[in-house]
């Protein structure tokens, strides 16, 4: 094989630039990355397992402003602040954009218009008839945008870690940390309860109580004996209750898992195991997960939650269910 042939058959990724092929650059980069991690391991070794570090404390809700009314704890904590932030951002952005609509939109208007169109046509329009879509679109859009803002601010470090503070001029400033309200099960569960009650109320309103309950049975069972029908009805009833778990836990678990991955890859694992070198090794992975969470998971989970809400509403009111 001649030299010309060898060049012609070189892989596309091995383009020459500055004397080094892309493959060589990647290998050198990986070598430096692993080399420094090994060097840190050799110099600092292992400090032994860290018993003081409690990763679960990152999600612990400390009372910031105590409000107790009639035995009910309504205190302001980290999760409540994130709820208020997400609500303020949702309302603020939508009102601000609505008042400043331009013929030549800027990027934020384009982004909001695309999201608005998606909630109207794909989420509401895709699962509901025209009348139902018009009635439930504001709820579905609010749900989508609120969950999206809530997820997104969950990936911006904010001064919310009151466990580790920094003393500045005598004031204990909380450390910057990430947290999401949707990473706390109670918030997705409340949203799910609203959805669950809403679609049953809509179903009963559209068909009447008994016809609605009868509609839980799949079509084609008209000739089945009543005992078997009752058995299937019980299964269907359980599936409706299971939605309380599936809808809430899907959102909660996805966001919590993302935050746990970021926590452990961002240094938590190194602190927990007392091996500093792990920090240098895992931090780039934290960056990958950060991009994945911000770029995909945050939006995807908001979309899934609101789409399933629309499907449940559509299923409860549709004639043939």
């Amino acid at each position: 094989m001649s030299a010309d042939q060898a060049v012609a058959e070189a892989p596309a990724g091995a383009s020459k630039s500055g004397g080094l092929s892309t493959k060589a650059k990647v290998l050198i980069g990986l070598g430096v990355y692993l080399g420094i991690a090994i060097l840190l391991l050799l110099i600092f070794g292992s400090g032994g397992k860290n018993e003081a570090f409690r990763p679960q404390n990152e999600f612990k809700l400390e009372e910031w402003i105590g409000i107790h009314i009639g035995g009910v704890d309504l205190s302001i904590n980290k999760a409540v602040v994130y709820l208020l932030l997400a609500s303020a951002l949702t309302i603020g952005t939508m009102v601000w954009i609505a008042r400043r609509m331009h013929q030549r939109p800027n990027r934020v208007q384009v982004a909001v218009e695309v999201a608005y169109d998606m909630t109207k046509n794909t989420i509401a329009g895709g699962s509901l008839d025209t009348k139902m879509a018009a009635r439930w679109f504001p709820f579905l859009a609010a749900l989508f945008f609120w969950i999206w803002f809530s997820n997104m601010i969950g990936f911006i470090p904010l001064p919310t870690n009151t466990e580790h503070t920094i003393n500045v001029f005598g004031a204990e400033i909380p450390s910057f940390a990430i947290y999401a309200a949707t990473a706390n099960l109670s918030i997705p569960l409340v949203l799910t309860l609203i959805v669950w009650v809403s679609y049953h109320v809509e179903g009963i309103r559209a068909k009447g109580l008994f016809k609605y309950l009868a509609s839980w049975l799949p079509p084609g069972l008209e000739d089945m004996n009543p005992v078997a029908k009752a058995f299937i009805f019980v299964i269907e009833a359980i599936s409706h209750f299971a939605r309380l778990i599936s809808l809430s836990v899907r959102l909660f678990a996805n966001i919590l898992a993302g935050h746990l991955l970021l926590l452990f890859m961002g240094g938590g694992l190194a602190v927990l195991l007392g091996i500093a070198a792990l920090g240098a090794l895992t931090f780039p992975l934290a960056f990958f997960f950060f991009i994945l969470e911000v770029g995909l998971i945050a939006t995807l989970q908001a979309f899934i939650f609101s789409t399933l809400t629309a499907i449940y509403l559509g299923g409860a009111t549709s004639a043939s269910h």
């Binding site: 934020v108 500045v168 910057f176």
Partner: protein, 126 residues
């Protein structure tokens, strides 16, 4: 409407006064500041290189430059903060980590706002 382009660097300069007046560990500030400025310089260089590659039609190479330098910048800051905590004292490490997180939050938000409030591509005046 958009925040200043170098709002993070302004904040970095302002933070020096806070560190000095509050008696916070200057080692933490120094390392965080040097790392931040270096990663900003790398970012500026990478953006220029990536734009040049895009103009030349090498989309894959442009993406490679952005991905590699972004990863490198993140890793540089994380390793530097880790070393401050290990070689210096834990307080300095914590201060450096918080400083970098504050700068990241401000830079991330400012970049997002600048991007969103700019005019979309292909909407130029005919």
């Amino acid at each position: 409407m958009s925040p200043p382009k170098y709002v993070d660097l302004l904040l970095l300069a302002a933070a020096l006064a806070v560190f000095l007046l509050a008696g916070l560990p200057l080692l933490g500030y120094g390392v965080a500041a040097v790392c931040w400025v270096v990663q900003r310089a790398v970012e500026a260089y990478a953006t220029r290189r990536a734009n040049a590659e895009l103009r030349a039609g090498n989309r894959q190479k442009a993406m490679g430059i952005v991905a590699a330098t972004t990863l490198g910048r993140v890793w540089l800051m994380a390793t530097a903060v880790l070393l401050v905590g290990l070689l210096g004292d834990r307080e300095a490490g914590l201060c450096a980590a918080v400083m970098v997180l504050v700068l990241f939050t401000v830079a991330f938000a400012a970049k997002g706002l600048t991007h969103l409030f700019g005019e979309p591509e292909g909407q130029g005046v005919a």
